[in-house]
Symmetry: C2
């Protein structure tokens, strides 16, 4: 009699065939053969390209649409308002929205003899994004090798120069795109985790934090986006998307909870218009949370 | 004198080396060598596995977090309430939240001699999802070959049986994951597009529609999620995330606009509790929009 079996493993090959670039155990593996020499060369290039950047921060979320780009844009704004030199690296190739949020629409990346030249925008913020290469109505299907090459291109062949901060908008998910970034950003200083209140998002965010724990990077803290709404008509506070998921996640993963960005028309309106809310509305609750995160990044 | 150059192309190889699986021109290409025989065999398997499903629908959004899983769960609920046999195929491996939304938490996929057996849930809905294989605190880094294999596994080796509907939750983005799906789902009946009101999301959704246009599939219509909020305190309607992006997208792409799902605590609360709003609150505005989309799918 045939018995039903629970599926325990799924397409995971446990043997080592030294195909490191495609191996799901890459991060944990300590085998000396791990990194092929061409990879070492590229990593060395990334180290050189980013050698004069003082702090490097990754903004991750696990799930898409939780507000990584929003937090990236406003963190860049907050640090730039403190007279820091900030470069934003947008690795979210499928949804390169952070350049729109920071008012870079219509600008383009250029190349000169020293490599790719970041575009320059408000408060001296510099930007490297696929959104500054593609036309708006251009569809580009990313095949894995192209994506990997583009990731490396943005890490190794950009003339970053001397900067105080690099803020990286990381794509959703915990796939090889994210691992490539964790591998290639040299001397990463830490990560910022963005989530939304709903329970369904926490499992995904947790997986992303666990992935970062594997490489032993600092978690600056968790921001919960879209928590609660204060009605401008009656002053009532309504928790449209439930509440507290970010706090519970931070407690569970033993990392700091920085604060919650409420649902607020001023938050999304300023993003659509290309000026981060931190600049346009520096005194709203959302800006306070971003500034708390910026403090934490500056002082850690 | 060296002049700055705009970057026109980026890592796109224009020559043909017959490496079809990794080619960015796959969808447009008509070369007879296009599909290697092992691919043909797998496609044949997918055709057989899905041969007794009457209608197959993909739910896409381009950007993450716009509500694809929410719409998938509720469309499945709406069709099941009409006494249809519905199977949900969750291809969103990085964020397999649709199983939670339909109350499948804790259930697991099994295998028997005929392949993977979908899990069974409320109203007879069946589910195939990575969320029914992984433990909640398990982190799995998806490398491209694993993802491709898992996609094919779910298309070729599931014992779907006789069903009225297959609703597929498609991952965010326009990368090879999406192309694999468009390639492998045989006799696709059409797609449902989900977007949010903000302008920054429309460019991403448009790219996803253009990708589907390339394979010539029907667009059933666009749903705009998170439009407006009716305050329960004062009855004021506030457009927290701006409004109208979905309608403008539909007009621009010449596809039907079906309606807008408002921000509503009952919508997210029911998702978190594992019962779709269409079942718990069949008379709210959000349910009306889902039913309009279900009508359209049934009558097209």
């Amino acid at each position: 009699m045939e018995k039903e079996q629970r599926i325990e493993h799924f397409n995971v090959d446990l043997g080592c065939d030294l195909d490191c670039a495609n191996c799901e155990k890459y991060l944990e593996c300590n085998a000396p053969e791990k990194i092929p020499s061409y990879e070492r060369k590229r990593m060395q290039k990334a180290r050189e390209a980013m050698g004069k950047i003082k702090k490097k921060v990754l903004v991750i979320g696990g799930k898409g649409g939780v507000g990584k780009s929003l937090v990236t844009a406003n963190l860049a704004g907050a640090l730039a308002m403190r007279k820091k030199n900030v470069t934003v690296l947008d690795q979210s190739f499928d949804a390169p929205v952070v350049c729109h949020m920071l008012g870079f629409s219509g600008k383009k990346l250029t190349v000169d003899k020293d490599g790719i030249v970041p575009a320059k925008g408000l408060l001296g913020i510099q930007m490297v994004s696929m959104g500054l290469i593609l036309e708006e109505d251009e569809v580009l299907t990313w095949f894995h090798e192209m994506k990997r090459n583009a990731t490396e291109e943005f890490l190794c062949h950009v003339n970053y120069g001397e900067r105080d901060y690099l803020i990286v908008d990381v794509p959703a998910g915990t796939s090889s795109d994210t691992v490539n970034l964790l591998q290639y950003v040299p001397n990463l200083d830490g990560i910022v985790v963005v989530t939304v209140p709903s329970e369904v998002s926490q499992a995904v965010a947790m997986r992303a934090i666990m992935l970062c724990n594997k490489v032993g990077t600092t978690v600056f803290g968790v921001i919960e986006n879209m928590r609660g709404f204060n009605c401008p008509g009656c002053g009532n506070k309504v928790n449209i998307l439930q509440t507290g998921g970010g706090e519970r996640l931070a407690t569970k993963m033993n990392v700091p909870f920085i604060g919650a960005i409420p649902l607020d028309p001023r938050v999304s309106e300023s993003s659509d218009k290309g000026v981060p809310f931190i600049i346009k509305y520096p005194d709203i609750e959302a800006s306070r949370v971003i500034n708390d995160m910026a403090d934490r990044i500056e002082n850690t």
